[in-house]
């Protein structure tokens, strides 16, 4: 009997040592909803933070499955940073409820709604209902595709990390400044491309290119979706072709996760092209970080409009 008890005790000890033991909390554990926030958090946090993300850059961020494995990521997180403006409304509540981590719930020290630092576009005026499609009542959530918002996001991360880890405040500040310096340097190289884009008409698949258009001066004259989240219908495609012809648009800009059949049809009728552009970090193999994302997207759009 004693032999059995000793074995059980040894097993419990082993589980305690290898299974349930947690490493000392040296780094801030940060989980982000998208890869763009992930990359900027990584740049600002450096080796002081451990960042993971839920969505992938080639995935529609509106429709992410709330998999239990994500709950494990959030269970021990110090910071949960998300885009906000209801982008994650379909899956975030399940993950936060499942995580049972008061730090990352609304009101917790690690709950970081990044949209709070952003001047938001397309905030609907007047009454809003679902006849308008997947409308976001708080405004357009695809704000990271404007580098000025990239800076705002970086500053917000700096503030949050500094608040939670006072002793490394200076290092977060230095990292954030270094990120802005790299972004500024990259921005200088974009000038000739921006000149090629400014004022040129395009067709966008979804409203995700609004902030990009505001920054680059690209003119969106029609959307493939008749309403946000509603796939193009034949009658709408007819209207898109008509409007695009009137405006002289020949390029359809769309994300890699949308079906391109209708876009190809429109491009064919216009004698133009469909440009598949990653909307997020990791949306294509050669887009490993935020500055590269902006650079590649601007270059690709400029090349298509040249």
């Amino acid at each position: 009997m004693n032999h059995v008890i000793r074995r059980i005790a040894a097993l419990a000890l082993a589980l305690g040592t290898f299974g349930f033991a947690r490493p000392a909390a040296a780094q801030l554990k940060v989980v982000t909803s998208t890869t763009d926030l992930y990359d900027i958090a990584r740049q600002v946090g450096g080796n002081l933070v451990m960042v993971t993300h839920i969505g992938e850059g080639y995935q529609d961020p509106h429709f992410i499955e709330a998999k239990p494995s994500f709950v494990l990521q959030l269970r021990n997180a110090d910071v949960w940073a998300f885009v906000g403006l209801d982008l994650e409304i379909g899956w975030m509540p399940l993950l936060l409820d499942g995580a049972r981590n008061p730090k990352v719930r609304l009101g917790g020290s690690g709950y970081l709604d990044v949209s709070k630092a952003i001047p938001v576009l397309d905030v609907p005026q007047g009454n809003v209902d679902r006849s308008m499609g997947d409308v976001h009542p708080l405004g357009n959530p695809h704000y990271w595709l404007d580098p000025e918002n990239g800076r705002r996001i970086a500053r917000l991360f700096k503030d949050k990390f500094s608040q939670l880890d006072r002793k490394n405040e200076d290092r977060y500040e230095a990292n954030e400044k270094a990120f802005e310096a790299r972004l500024n340097a990259a921005e200088k190289t974009w000038a000739p491309y921006l000149a090629q884009i400014r004022g040129k008409p395009v067709i966008a698949y979804h409203t995700s290119w609004r902030y990009f258009a505001q920054y680059t001066g690209m003119r969106i004259v029609a959307y493939m979706e008749p309403k946000p989240g509603v796939p193009p219908s034949p009658s709408h495609v007819f209207e898109v072709i008509r409007d695009a012809k009137q405006a002289g648009a020949k390029v359809v800009v769309q994300e890699p996760f949308y079906d391109r059949k209708m876009s190809d049809l429109v491009a064919k009728n216009l004698g133009g092209t469909v440009l598949i552009v990653p909307p997020s970090v990791g949306g294509a193999r050669d887009v490993p970080d935020y500055i590269t994302l902006m650079t590649k997207d601007i270059q690709a759009v400029a090349a298509a409009l040249r």
Binding site: L15, G19, F20, E56, Y58, Q59, D60, F63, E65, A66, K67, P68, S69, V71, L72, R75, G84, L85, G90, W91, P93, L94, D97, G98, A99, R100, N101, P102, R105, L106, G107, D113, S115, K116, A117, I118, P119, V120, V123, R130, D134, L138, G139, R152, R155, L156, K158, D159, G229, V230, P231, P256, F257, Y258, D259
Partner: protein
């Protein structure tokens, strides 16, 4: 708070000159006791200085003109204020409309060809910093208004969730999904026969713990509920099942989840529950009981159910809007007490020698398998196979195959059509044709994965 801080600082400020009268702290200590005393004095002086510095900073901050932080832009979404200033809860409604075009007559419980099977009203909100509340009311022609679910959930206990109230019992995979949100129009037959036609509910306490000692997701869900299963109005026992603690219901479920790839994952879970339920007595014996003044026609018999469920999901991330596949199966075994305690008649049962217990005296097994394939952005086809030893037919084997077509105009509405064929020819015939339309109004919380 500010007053307390100020008073503390004043007190410390008064004490600080006294510190000046203490022995010179820069002098070399002559003994270990002196050294400790000097360190203590130094710490006290530093605390006083820190408090005064803090007070100065607070005063400076209060007197400075208010200024937006530099890192915040002037006009942000946060600047518009709270989005729900009146702290209203989320109100939502779900309508579930069912049509039955079966060739040999309707197969619906209320004998209708077309019916609003249920309207579900939900009120959901955070109650306070520690709890959230969810209330779901079911309204149907058959049952009137009923409390489908109403529970408080803790939100501030790290790693643990406790739920109190009425809820869908965490037994098997599909039972925790509301009927209107199933991939099929009705629950699989094994759930309908072994648990309840519209999902087994329980009223009590639910404790839920997520853990990952082996590197993958595991969750333990345990409940204690007032009673197990739906009450049968026509059955009366000599004493209520919950009179003794052993008569209330208990359940436990262990979920195991693995990501196979980014696109594919598997869940394998095991459930068990036990409790006492009312089971009928032989009518003649019930009459004898009645005659002897015992107003009971049922006995309390222990019923336990064990089950296992398996779900495989595939959804490629990049084409996730257009392609997905689910393969799911559950198997359950219901274990029934063979000789429950029978109420004793005080009057002699003259001439009666037959059996007295008329409840189930054998165990039953049932299972289903289900698959659903996404064929377009909004279209799905599915099929299900049901097999069970039917408790309503004393274990007679029952099998059914069904096919489904589903179309989702958006996340908030669904149209479905089903054809089902039974193995057994009974009064309802072998074929069923069902139609369904559901819609959701308001901010209905997403359903569990």
């Amino acid at each position: 708070m500010r007053t307390i801080l100020f008073a503390t600082c004043v007190a410390l400020a008064i004490v600080s000159p006294l510190g000046a009268q203490q022995p010179d702290t820069t002098r070399k200590p002559t003994s270990p006791a002196d050294s400790a005393r000097q360190r203590q004095v130094r710490d006290s002086l530093k605390a006083v200085q820190d408090s005064l510095d803090l007070m100065k900073q607070i005063e400076a901050a209060q007197s400075a003109p208010s200024q937006a932080p530099q890192s915040q832009p002037q006009q942000t979404s946060g600047a518009t204020g709270a989005t729900n200033p009146r702290l209203l809860p989320d109100f939502s409604a779900v309508g579930d409309f069912v049509g039955d075009l079966s060739p040999n007559g309707t197969t619906q419980e209320d004998a209708t060809r077309f019916s609003v099977r249920e309207v579900e009203l939900a009120v959901q909100a955070v109650v306070d910093p520690y709890l959230r509340g969810d209330v779901f009311l079911g309204i149907s022609d058959l049952e009137g208004v009923s409390i489908e679910q109403a529970y408080l959930t803790t939100t501030s206990i790290p790693d643990l969730e406790i739920r109190m109230g009425r809820y869908l019992m965490p037994f098997g995979k599909q039972n925790t999904t509301h009927r209107h949100d199933l991939h099929t129009i009705e629950y699989p037959y094994v759930i309908q026969r072994f648990l309840s036609t519209d999902g087994l509910k329980g009223t009590g306490v639910w404790v839920d713990k997520v853990f990952a000692p082996f590197g993958f997701y595991q969750e333990l869900q345990a409940t204690a509920v007032d009673r197990l299963g739906d009450r049968v109005d026509s059955l009366t026992t000599a004493e209520p099942a919950n009179k003794r603690l052993g008569g209330i219901g208990f359940s436990a479920r262990v979920r195991n989840y693995w990501d196979l790839t980014q696109a594919a994952n598997v869940e394998l879970s095991f459930s068990g529950m036990t409790g006492k339920r009312e089971q009928p007595l032989n009518e003649t014996y019930a009459g004898i009981l009645q005659a002897s003044g015992v107003g009971a026609n049922a006995a309390l018999a222990r019923q336990s159910t064990v089950g296992a469920d398996f779900t495989f999901r595939w959804r490629p991330l990049q084409q996730g809007l257009y392609k997905s596949f689910i393969l799911q199966g559950e198997v359950m075994r219901q274990l029934n007490s063979r000789s429950p305690e029978i109420p004793v008649a005080s009057a002699p049962a003259v001439g009666y020698v037959g059996p007295t217990y008329a409840g189930p005296t054998r165990d039953f097994t049932g299972a289903y398998g289900f698959a659903r394939w996404q064929i377009t952005a909004r279209g799905f086809v599915g099929a299900r196979y049901d097999w069970l030893q039917d408790p309503l037919q004393n274990g007679r084997t029952f099998a059914a195959g069904s096919g489904y077509l589903e179309w989702y105009p958006s996340e908030f509405s669904k149209f479905a059509a089903a054809y089902e064929r039974h193995s057994r020819l009974d009064a309802l015939g072998q074929d069923r044709i069902l139609l369904q339309a559901t819609f959701s109004l308001g901010p209905h919380k997403p359903h569990p994965f």
